[in-house]
Assembly symmetry: C2
């Protein structure tokens, strides 16, 4: 994939997440997907995302920065939301918080195969 | 700059950091540099890095992942080091810790002008 094709693919992936269109997640994520060193597979990846939406009912993924150089996608995601209970062990309890995630994806065979994500949890701690 | 030129530029920047060659930092970092929303300028940026090397005498920047799409550089940096005292408020006290940083840079006029960095501090907390 070219950088532009990779960018379009990634925007399709983020749209899929924001629509919670789990039946189409397999168009973007490999059945062998590894997230932060853990083999989740497609079903575990879907379960992780479904859990995220349970914890954050108004979860929305906003792409703040995007750099694509095949086979890598690098994205800075911005979140502005009201997690209902605890988030990352922090008692947010419905307060509005904003935070960011810097994340890399490796794409193999047209699908996300590996993810290296770091979320700015300290930013959330500062807001509650 | 092309992706390849940007990649070579970034490897030169990391070499400069690892050599603690502060007199040449201005070949890579703008005098108006902004780091995580704070205007540090070149002198503040240098002071931040000098402080990092004081806190971590064996600090070494290793590029684990690199994606360049002008004007952005995205890098995952890996650290394997023995911070001498506290690091990010955590009492490391000379223990060996490994952690990662996912960071974006915007390059303008051939120099790093903006940085968006997230360090995996939770990984350090788990190791001490």
């Amino acid at each position: 994939m070219s950088p532009d094709t990779l960018s379009a693919f990634y925007r399709g992936y983020i749209d899929c997440l924001n629509r919670q269109d789990w039946d189409n997640l397999g168009r973007f994520v490999s059945v062998d997907a590894i997230h932060n060193g853990r083999t989740l597979g497609l079903s575990g990846y879907r379960a992780m995302l479904e859990g995220d939406f349970r914890a954050i009912p108004d979860l929305h993924f906003d792409i703040a920065l995007l750099a694509c150089e095949p086979p890598l996608i690098a994205s800075r995601l911005h979140f502005d939301c009201r997690p209902s209970g605890e988030l990352f062990g922090l008692p947010v309890n419905g307060r509005r918080v904003t935070f960011d995630e810097n994340v890399f994806y490796e794409v193999e065979g047209g699908l996300i195969s590996k993810v290296w994500s770091i979320i700015d949890k300290a930013a959330i701690a500062r807001q509650i």
